[in-house]
Every structure is written in C-alpha cells, then in structure tokens.
C-alpha cells in the first residue's frame, strides 16, 4: 500500500526530471531521428498516465524496464549490486545492535557514572558525525596509518569467489567452508560497516538508555526491587524487554537513514553496491533506473520495518493480543 504510494511519488519525480533521457541514453553521437525513435520506444511521447500504467503493468511482472545507463534490465542491474549493499547494511545493523544496545543498557544501569558519560559521549559522536567522515577517519587510521585493514572493495583481488548462494560473501563463503575468503571478506567489510553503523549505534545507545531510564522510573521496577531482584536481573531481564519495544520501533526508522548513508559509505570505500548505480542513474536521468532503485530501497526498508514490527509484537504482548 505504502509501496504503491511510493511508486507514484517516485514515478512522478522521475518523469519531472528535465532533459531528454533518450538523448542521454543514445550517447553524444546520436542524431535527432535516432532520439525521436528512442522516445517513441520509451513511450516518452505518451501522456504520463499511460506511461505510469504501462510501468505498473511491467512492474507486476517483475520488469522494471531497461536501464539507459547500463543498457541492461534494471532488475538485473539491481540484483547485481543489491547483495553488496544488503551485506553492508546488515553488517552495520548487526554492529549497531550488538554494540549500541548493550552500551545503552550499561549507561542506564550506571546512570551518572563515568561509564555513562563515556558511553554517552561515544553515542553522541556516533550520531553527530556524518558517516562519510567516519569513513574517512577510520580509513585514515586503520587502513592508511596502521595499515591493518584493507582500504576498499569487498574482496582482495586474488581471493577465491565463493559459489553464489545468497550473494552475501560472508554467508556464502561460510556456507562453502571457504574460510580464507570469509576472513578476507570480513576484513574488507569491517571498516565500511563500522562507519555506517556509528550513527545508528549512537542512536541505539541513546534510545536504549533513554527508554531504559524511563522504564526504570516505572513502578514495576520498584516492585522488582522491592522483591529483591538484583540490579543485573532488572537490567537484562526485567527492564530490557519493555524498553526495547519503543527502541526497536525507532531503530526501524533509523534503518532508512542507514540505507541512505550506505550511499556515502559505499562511495568512500569503493564498495560495489547500489550507491554508485543510484547516483549515476539520477545524474543520467535514467528513469527506469531511478524508479527501480528507489522502489527497491523503499521496499527493502519497508520489509525490514515489517520484520521489526513482528519482533516488536512478540516483545510486546499487548500488540500481539490486540491484533488477534
């Protein structure tokens, strides 16, 4: 439903782009007749409603049209770059939750302690520093200065490619038992994923801390204390779950930011993901490419949020029971 709205919006934006995609597609040497013919072929001379309906018709069949930029089907283009982006974003999401949430818990548990201040500072730095700046800092430090991690790409040039199963190199190489490749891929993804995760990590830590603090103010925490629960139990068992419910919902929204920032980080680390494609198609007014890219990214975002909603429902029985 929302996706449908997104498609209209994006389609509208894409069709508004000035300039002639046909000319750009044909390259600098094309003649005017060639351009006209191309315009006909692309239905560019039809009214916009016809164009949209045609687009939807094809979309339902999984056909996003042909990219004018690569001259390949957009679906193919996206499929070839999506796994890299997907892997990067997932790795970043993992770092964000695995580091950010515990950081927030610790900060909430030891409120106003040195630990809290340190965690807060780190979280704040994460939030306020653009991911591309993180990328540059990390690259300077770990890749150039210390020279312990690779600078760019997904794999070293002599790494053996694992058989393609999911398209995620880490998963594929692990499945195939190719540990050298796995290790290589891991080394490559570390910096970009960290750079990408920092913002979300900060948000996660701050949100967790805030929501935990709020939960700590609730009566049921006093009740738990009044019944002799240890602070540890309260933090990790009793308060965490109710605190995670709002945290997760907002982190789901943060995912959008992360997807956007992936563009930046991919650029810094020459990560062969969707970013370059996305920027290029926009610059080149590749209508199909633009619509396809944004649609896929939005769908990706909506799916992630759906998953989060399901998790939240299981964490918060109130929602679960309301829906039944």
């Amino acid at each position: 439903m929302v996706l449908f709205g997104v498609s209209i919006l994006i389609f509208g934006i894409a069709r508004l782009i000035p300039g002639d995609p046909a000319r750009i597609a044909l390259g600098p040497m094309a003649s005017n007749e060639q351009v006209e013919a191309m315009r006909d072929r692309l239905l560019l001379n039809e009214p916009i409603t016809v164009q949209y309906l045609n687009f939807i018709k094809n979309l339902v069949q999984g056909d996003l049209g042909t990219s004018l930029y690569t001259r390949r089907p957009v679906t193919e283009d996206i499929l070839s770059t999506l796994p890299a982006t997907f892997e990067l974003v997932l790795a970043a999401a993992l770092i964000m939750t695995v580091v950010g949430v515990p950081l927030g818990i610790l900060a909430a548990r030891y409120r106003h302690s040195g630990l809290d201040i340190a965690a807060n500072l780190l979280a704040l730095l994460g939030v306020v520093t653009p991911s591309f700046v993180w990328g540059i800092f990390l690259m300077l430090l770990f890749a150039f200065h210390l020279d312990i991690l690779p600078i760019a790409g997904r794999l070293s040039r002599d790494a053996v490619l694992p058989p393609q199963i999911t398209g995620l190199l880490l998963v594929d190489s692990a499945l195939a038992g190719m540990w050298a490749t796995f290790w290589d891929a891991l080394r490559h993804i570390t910096l970009p994923a960290t750079a990408l995760a920092m913002g979300g990590l900060g948000t996660a830590a701050r949100l967790t801390r805030a929501n935990m603090s709020e939960v700590y103010g609730r009566q049921y925490i006093q009740l738990a204390r009044a019944f002799g629960y240890t602070e540890r139990e309260i933090a990790y068992r009793y308060a965490l779950r109710p605190a995670m419910v709002p945290t997760l919902t907002i982190l789901g929204l943060d995912f959008a930011i992360m997807l956007g920032n992936a563009f930046l980080v991919e650029k810094v680390f020459a990560w062969p993901g969707m970013a370059r494609y996305g920027v290029e198609v926009i610059i080149r007014k590749d209508l199909n490419g633009i619509v396809g890219t944004i649609l896929v990214i939005s769908a990706f975002f909506l799916i992630i949020n759906m998953i989060i909603d399901i998790i939240v429902a299981y964490m918060n029985p109130r929602i679960l029971y309301q829906n039944q």
Binding site: M1, V2, L3, G5, V6, I8, L9, I10, I13, A14, L16, I17, P18, L124, L125, V127, V128, T129, P130, S131, F132, V133, I136, F137, M139, L140, F144, H145, A210, E214, L253, A256, I257, L259, G260, N261, F263, L264, K267, V268, G278, V279, I282, I283, K285, I290, T293, I294, I297, S298, F301, L302
Partner: protein, 283 residues
C-alpha cells in the same frame, strides 16, 4: 516575578547539564565566527574566487592552520565561511519544512477521520523513502543550485514534523483545556493555534534544534555526493568529498571540514538535549 522565576528555573535545569552549556558556547562561537567571518578569518578573500597555484596543497602551518587546498586557498578560512552556508541551509530548510509539517500534522491530528488519514498516508509514503535517497531524487529533478538543494531538503523534512505533531496533537486533542475551549465555543482555528500549538512549541523547538544539526549533516552528505552548492562557495560537505580524493597525502583537506561538520552538529545536539531536559518531556 513568577515568569522570572520560571525562566531561572528553566535555566537552572538547562545549566544543570554541563554538556548543554558547552553546546551553547560552541554554538555561539560558531555562529559568531560565521557572521564575523570577514573579520575573523585570516584570508577572507579565499572564500570567493581565488587561486594561488604557488601556494597550493600546503600542509597545516603557522600561517595556514588547516593547510591549503588544491588551488592554494586557506582551508581554515573556507571552513569558517562554510559554516555560513551550513547555518543558512539549516535555518532555511527548517524554516520551510517546519511550518508546513506542523500545520499538516496539527490538521491531521485534530481533524482525524478521513482527512487525517489521507495526510498521514502521504506522510508515510514520504517516510518510506530513505531521506537521502529522496533528496537525491528531488535534486535529480531540479537544477543543482543552492535554492533547489534547500527545497529538496525541505521536501524530505516536513513529514517528520507532521508525524510528531500528529501524535502529539492527538494526545492533546482530548486534554481538558482543549475540550474546555470547545465547550466555551472557540473556533477550530483558535483551538489549533491558540490552545494546541503553544503546547507543541517545546517539542518542536527541541526537535528543531536537533534537526538543525541533522539538516547540516544531510546537506553535507548531499554535497559529498556531488549534489551540493557550486564552487567557489565554500561548502563543508564538498570540501570533505574533494579532499577524500587526496587521502592520505593531503589529509588536512577532508579532515578539518569533516571535524567542522561534526562540531556544529554536536553543538546543536548538545543544546537540543539540554532543551529536552529543560522542557522535561520524554518525546
């Protein structure tokens, strides 16, 4: 007298957060520097068209604290001038997005029903597209000028306010004083702007402050992708993007503008957090 007391209490709460005060000081310093840029920077002429190929790509030194760039301009000067753009961008973008978002959110929240649903669905659509991507798409439509960049950012920012204001309006709509105003016979517009809006101000203001930082951040990200303002106007994001191409040899080119972005966003965040705890509501 009570008002004074309230103000000082607010200040007490604000100043109880040393970080917030730090943020305020930082912000004041940045703003002042930006406003007084022609007087406080060592080479104000470097902010506009200027080249000095004999002096290019110099590392930080006593005369150029942040080094010089590829055409020999002082990076420090350009960073300070870059703040001018950043701050303007932040204020203009939110100046456009906030009134729009707030008005729509209030109407949707107050009217509810079909109108509210339609507004919120549209908002959802905008929120379902990652902000940066949406801005890029909009910038694809428009020519790449500063004004259009501002429009693009405003386009992606309003839904957040609509959403926040919608939720809060729905909560406030049934508060006693709103009902009382209705009972007394106040008009809808009075209820919206006279009763509800003033109560949204703290959260809007807080979000506004935080967002000023984030707008700057996103704007710099856009320039980083090459969708920013045109040279020779100094722009922090473009400076980072350009400098990133010269790592690690000319590290000062991306690092100082990068730090500058960080600093201004940080300042806004600290102040925003301070405001939040001053207004004392969990948003």
């Amino acid at each position: 007298m009570m008002a004074r007391r309230f103000q000082s209490r607010a200040w007490y709460r604000f100043s109880a957060e040393p970080m917030a005060v730090l943020g305020l000081v930082l912000l004041a310093a940045i703003t002042l520097a930006a406003i007084l840029a022609p007087f406080v920077t060592p080479f104000p002429e470097h902010a506009s068209s200027f080249v000095d190929f004999r002096n290019m790509s110099q590392p930080p030194s006593a005369s150029h604290w942040f080094g010089t760039d590829l055409v020999g301009r002082d990076v420090l000067t350009r960073v300070v001038y870059g703040y001018r753009i950043s701050l303007t961008v932040g204020i203009v973008v939110l100046g456009l997005a906030v009134p729009l978002g707030v008005t729509l959110g209030m109407i949707a929240g107050y009217a509810g029903g079909r109108l509210g649903a339609v507004i919120m669905r549209i908002t959802d659509v905008f929120l379902a597209i990652p902000a940066l991507v949406l801005a890029m798409a909009v910038l694809g439509v428009l020519d790449r000028t500063l004004i259009n960049g501002l429009i693009a950012l405003a386009v992606l920012w309003w839904p957040w306010y609509t959403r926040m204001v919608y939720n809060q309006t729905r909560a406030i709509r049934n508060e006693g004083y709103v009902v009382a105003a209705q009972v007394v016979g106040a008009s809808h517009s009075w209820v919206l702007f006279g009763e509800i809006l003033p109560n949204l101000v703290p959260s809007i203001l807080t979000k506004f402050t935080l967002d000023l930082g984030f707008v700057i951040l996103v704007a710099s990200a856009l320039s980083f992708l090459g969708l920013g303002v045109e040279p020779p106007t100094p722009d922090l994001g473009s400076m980072v993007a350009e400098g990133a191409g010269y790592l690690p040899d000319m590290w000062w080119m991306p690092v100082f503008p990068g730090l500058a972005i960080l600093l201004v966003v940080l300042a806004f965040n600290l102040v925003g957090d301070g405001l939040r705890s001053m207004f004392g509501d969990g948003m």
